[in-house]
């Protein structure tokens, strides 16, 4: 809501706001502080020989690794991993939502498939890796498939429970106007579950990344997962650490991207 005129602030209010801001600043300062202290301690103890930098690597060596990696093909590997993750994520989300719609629509199919969904949900999908590689071939397809397999079942279950929990009384209201099942879905059930959808997307982007890295470990052709496995095999811990850090940043950015889209869409669907 907009206020056209701001009244003059009372001294108590000014003080309150000031203290609020001070707390915020302290939190921000400490966050950065923890990182800086950690990096300094790491670098320092490596230089002093307290830890073996061959095994634990060290920030300065990681920085140097980035320089050589950038000249090589770091960006290419990042692109591969992000591409595969997005592909698995989008396919998983789309297929998951479609399946959830099907199960919401048809109570019979839903009842029949219930035990299978429960089993599939608790099965660690990575165990299917070898099967997937044999079926899809040792390449991008297998990796995307792995990401899809990991995120699919969770999406189905979460969306389905969201659809089912939709306010019964809102559905009844639509029925009083003679709404068809399709209209009940498009006008009530689906829009009511936009928040559920985004909650599940936020979980899925992380899960897809897990699937992609696991896939890259197995397929070992390209991507950050490949760099990590390769670095481990030839004992280049600098490369492993550098890749892990890039991976962490990538994961955070992907999550933030989903959160940003949620924010934009959330606005269009009314304040929440």
């Amino acid at each position: 809501m907009k206020h056209s005129k701001q009244p003059a602030l009372s001294p108590e209010r000014t003080l309150y706001l000031k203290q609020n801001k001070r707390t915020q600043n302290r939190i921000r300062l400490c966050r950065w502080g923890v990182l800086v202290v950690f990096l300094l301690a790491w670098e320092g103890s490596a230089r002093l020989g307290l830890i073996d930098s061959f095994i634990f690597s060290q920030p300065s060596r990681i920085l140097r690794t980035y320089q050589t990696m950038l000249q090589d093909d770091l960006l290419y590997h990042i692109r591969v991993t992000v591409g595969e993750t997005l592909a698995g994520f989008l396919l998983g989300a789309a297929a998951g939502v479609l399946l959830a719609i099907l199960l919401w629509w048809n109570a019979f199919i839903s009842k029949v498939s219930e035990p299978y969904l429960v089993v599939l949900n608790s099965l660690p999908k990575i165990a299917l890796g070898p099967v997937i590689i044999i079926i899809a071939g040792a390449g991008t397809k297998a990796i995307v498939f792995m990401a899809l397999a990991i995120s699919l079942v969770v999406t189905v279950l979460e969306m389905l429970s969201g659809f089912r929990d939709t306010d019964k009384s809102a559905i009844r209201m639509a029925r009083t106007f003679g709404a068809t099942k399709r209209q009940i879905f498009t006008k009530i059930v689906f829009p009511a579950n936009i928040p559920t959808l985004f909650d599940s997307l936020k979980v899925n982007i992380g899960l897809s990344l897990v699937g992609v890295i696991a896939g890259e470990f197995l397929v070992s052709r390209a991507g950050l997962g490949y760099l990590i496995v390769y670095g481990g095999q030839v004992f280049k811990m600098d490369l492993v650490m550098a890749s892990v850090i890039i991976l962490a940043v990538t994961a955070a950015l992907l999550y933030e991207a989903v959160a940003l889209i949620q924010h934009i869409i959330g606005r269009r669907f009314g304040a929440r």
Binding site: S169, A170, M173, G178, P191, F269, G270, R272
Partner: protein, 269 residues
């Protein structure tokens, strides 16, 4: 000719434990512009009656005619207002009000104008682009009523439509709704468990019995004044007489004596 004819309705529910007769030979008719209240012991099938009249629930026996036409499915002849306002948070008030027309695929420019006109007339035009959470409880209920009236129904069914509101708001909203219904000349059938509400809104009160519900009495309500409104009715001398009559019919004399309540304000809630 009567606008609503309810002919010998009978309703039987089937369940694993057996069958339950909810309604037995419910038969009455309403003239255009009349307001009927329906009261009855809780669980007697009041809401079932409305569901059948609205066309959402097929009756076991009997039929419902609106303007001579048999009702077999939800139709735009009938507006049905539920206990909750059920305004959708992701829609603006205007979009909420248009929902019924949208579902019925009657979103013509004329109907749109009509809805806008209703918003204007009943003081919600300034809030048309707001979201429901920005409105008070009373305004939300008014928006829900306009959503129901936007499809231009001949008959309005109200199912405990005010019971989710706090007392203060409830008095305000009944006043509001009564005024709107009278002004739009809608025929209204209201189910309530609130005896004072049934008296101060209804031209007639249908008193149902325990299950299986039959119509025990049709009590005409007349107040000796020109322009009655729900609030003014409450202070009329006839009010207490009607209250006691309905109270007795509902067979709550004993409960009243044992509880030691004074008849006046709704002792049920």
């Amino acid at each position: 000719m009567a606008i609503l004819q309810v002919e010998h309705l009978r309703q039987v529910y089937q369940s694993k434990d057996g069958e339950t007769v909810a309604l037995e030979d419910i038969h009455f008719s309403m003239e255009k512009g009349e307001f009927f209240s329906v009261v009855g012991p809780s669980g007697c099938g009041k809401s079932t009656l409305l569901s059948i009249i609205s066309g959402m629930l097929p009756a076991t026996d009997g039929r419902v005619l609106v303007a001579g036409e048999e009702i077999k499915a939800p139709s735009s002849h009938i507006g049905y207002m539920l206990q909750q306002d059920n305004l959708l948070e992701w829609r603006t008030i205007r979009q909420n009000v248009l929902l019924g027309l949208e579902i019925r695929r009657q979103l013509t420019p004329e109907m749109r104008d009509r809805a806008d006109h209703l918003l204007e007339t009943y003081g919600l035009a300034a809030f048309a682009n707001r979201h429901p959470s920005q409105l008070s409880g009373g305004m939300r209920q008014r928006a829900a009523l306009i959503r129901t009236l936007a499809i231009n129904p001949d008959i309005l069914l109200l199912d405990e439509a005010f019971s989710a509101l706090d007392y203060q708001t409830r008095l305000e909203v009944t006043e509001d709704v009564y005024r709107i219904i009278k002004r739009e000349q809608v025929t209204a059938l209201m189910v309530t468990h609130d005896i004072p509400e049934s008296i101060c809104m209804g031209d007639k009160v249908l008193i149902l019995s325990e299950r299986p519900a039959v119509i025990r009495t049709v009590l005409p309500i007349r107040f000796n004044m020109d322009k009655r409104t729900p609030i003014t009715c409450r202070s009329q001398p006839e009010f207490a007489g009607y209250f006691n009559h309905i109270w007795k019919e509902l067979g709550m004399n004993e409960a009243l004596e044992t509880a030691g309540t004074v008849a006046g304000e709704d002792p049920l809630s």
